[in-house]
């Protein structure tokens, strides 16, 4: 590329990164400020002292009233639900994607069309009967409504994996079949190892979905001890009659940090994974 063009590309990228990054810098700056300086006008970017103790304070916030450390309990709950949901969605969508992408069965194409159409069904339409169903099962107030459905597949991930599976040459399966491999062995030993990037994308999407979910926990979780971070963060903000901004930002930062770390190391595989799955 010509030097002038490279310069302008960098300039545009820096500008975009700045606009997208300012809210984060503002969050970081607020998170380490003494409470007095959060309400200064005009705002100070650099606090007079960096209060790292805001982080432990944010974690301990509300533990006196609750009788336990809310942040730690919320974190544990979120990790449990997310781990179960990610495992379930990778396994179930891989199996189902394989059925749609590489096996022949009567009704497959019709069912696939219907599956694609379900992507248009908004969550609120199915929300009420699903709630009644889980209530009937006695699952309201437990984590089950939040992770069990992940084991039953989701249209978007099925679609993603089906597209990917179709790009794997059929000769590989045929060769394994001649060697006497069963369909299950072809799936686990031939196709799955080649599908790692696509599986990573599904895992990341379902990780983000479960970690960020707000409406699900809002509907199904009742007791404060079962809350997730999303629900807890909202409670921080409203229930205690307004948490100090510096602690609120410190807590938000703690919620975001693990996701950012995961993504930074996974970003190349992630983008390649999407490229190879070929959304069209």
């Amino acid at each position: 590329m010509r030097p002038a063009k490279t310069f302008w590309t960098h300039a545009a990228l820096v500008l975009a990164a700045l606009v997208f990054g300012i809210p984060f810098l503002w969050m970081l700056s607020t998170a380490v400020k003494p409470i007095g300086e959060t309400l200064s006008n005009p705002p100070k970017w650099i606090p007079s002292q960096v209060l790292w103790s805001n982080f432990p304070d944010a974690i301990m916030y509300g533990s006196k009233q609750a009788g336990f450390i809310p942040f730690v309990v919320y974190l544990r709950n979120t990790v449990i639900i997310t781990a179960l949901a990610v495992a379930g969605s990778v396994v179930s969508n891989a199996v189902v994607g394989y059925a749609f992408g590489r096996l022949k069965w009567p009704g497959r194409d019709l069912f696939f069309g219907v599956t694609l159409a379900t992507m248009m069904v908004p969550f609120p339409v199915t929300m009420v009967p699903t709630f009644s169903l889980f209530k009937w099962l006695g699952w309201v107030g437990t984590f089950k409504p939040l992770w069990v459905p992940a084991y039953l597949g989701s249209a978007f991930s099925i679609f993603l994996l089906r597209q990917f599976f179709r790009t794997i040459p059929n000769e590989l399966s045929e060769a394994a079949k001649i060697d006497g491999a069963s369909e299950w062995v072809i799936f686990t030993d031939v196709v799955l190892p080649l599908a790692r990037p696509a599986l990573a994308v599904v895992a990341l999407f379902s990780f983000m979905g479960a970690w960020n979910d707000f409406l699900g926990p809002l509907i199904y979780l009742v007791d404060q001890r079962t809350f997730t971070l999303s629900l807890g963060l909202q409670a921080y903000q409203t229930q205690h009659g307004g948490t100090p901004w510096n602690l609120l930002m410190a807590a938000s930062l703690l919620v975001i940090a693990p996701i950012i770390l995961v993504f930074f190391f996974a970003q190349k595989a992630f983008i390649q994974g999407i490229a190879t799955t070929g959304i069209k």
Binding site: M1, T9, H10, A16, A17, F20, I22, P23, F24, W26, T30, L39, N41, P42, P43, S92, A99, L103, K104, W105, P106, V114, T118, M120, V121, P122, F123, P124, V125, T126, M127, V128, P129, S132, L133, P149, G153, I158, F187, W211, F214, L215, S230, L231, Q234, Q237, T238, M249, S252, I256, I259, I260, F263, F264, Q267, I271, A275, T277, I279, K280
Partner: protein, 292 residues
Amino acid sequence: MKQRREGWVGWLFAAPWVVGFTLLMLYPLVSSLVASFTNYSILRQPKFIGVDNYVELSKDTVFHQSLANTLLYALGAVPLGTVLAIALALLLNAKVKGMPVYRTLLFLPTLVPMVAQATLFLWVFNGDYGILNALLRKIGMNPPNWLGEPMWAKWTLVAIAVWGCGNAMVIYLAGLQNVPPTLYEAAELDGAKAWAKTRHVTLPMLSPVILFNVVMGIIGSIQVFAVPQVMFPGGAPARSTYMFAMYLYDNAFQFQRMGYASAMGWIMFLIILGLTLVSLRLSDRHVHYETS
């Protein structure tokens, strides 16, 4: 014989989704359609009331307002998000140093949980102490209290949506990397400049991905819930941020009117269906598919 056996294996592999589709999609869809013609609530036995819920919705001014708010929000968020996401993807597809850092920075907002986004932007848009107004005052403007004025509050939600356009951006980026380099070489031989290449090679090749993202964007924005629910409980100020999904949630779980909420859910579904079909129809002439 072999065909029969393979068919059986196929259904077996698809079994988790057969169960999921039946229990968590088909059954709830049918059940909510039936419930929308009843006065169903958790508290009492449902009674069939015909189209009363739909008639009431047609007169419910709160419903009309939430619908208008949501459509305005989508009308702002989808086009702005699409243009910005494509522009950023084009930038991020350039071959310059430090790309992983730029990509991560621009994707970061998408990774932020909705509730954390809402919390952060309550603080960014804060009329007195927020950073946005501090910057605007520094350049001599007299900015409004974004969160407190019905005229502006909705647009803060659009801004947050656009800020989080990273998912679409990444999908565009992947689409760009799938454009065969030979097409650009051919265009260069014909003397095409940068804009001409974007206009006549990149955008047509990207058009199926654009359609996909626009449709997903519409579906997502009509359902917007978490950010407005956390930022503006009850849709304050003056219900200007009260969204379709918030009113639906309130009817189902606050007012215990699940039949009414089901009718709203079906209307939402039909709106999404209609908008999707319109997008598909409008795009018919403009979307270019590789015949392979």
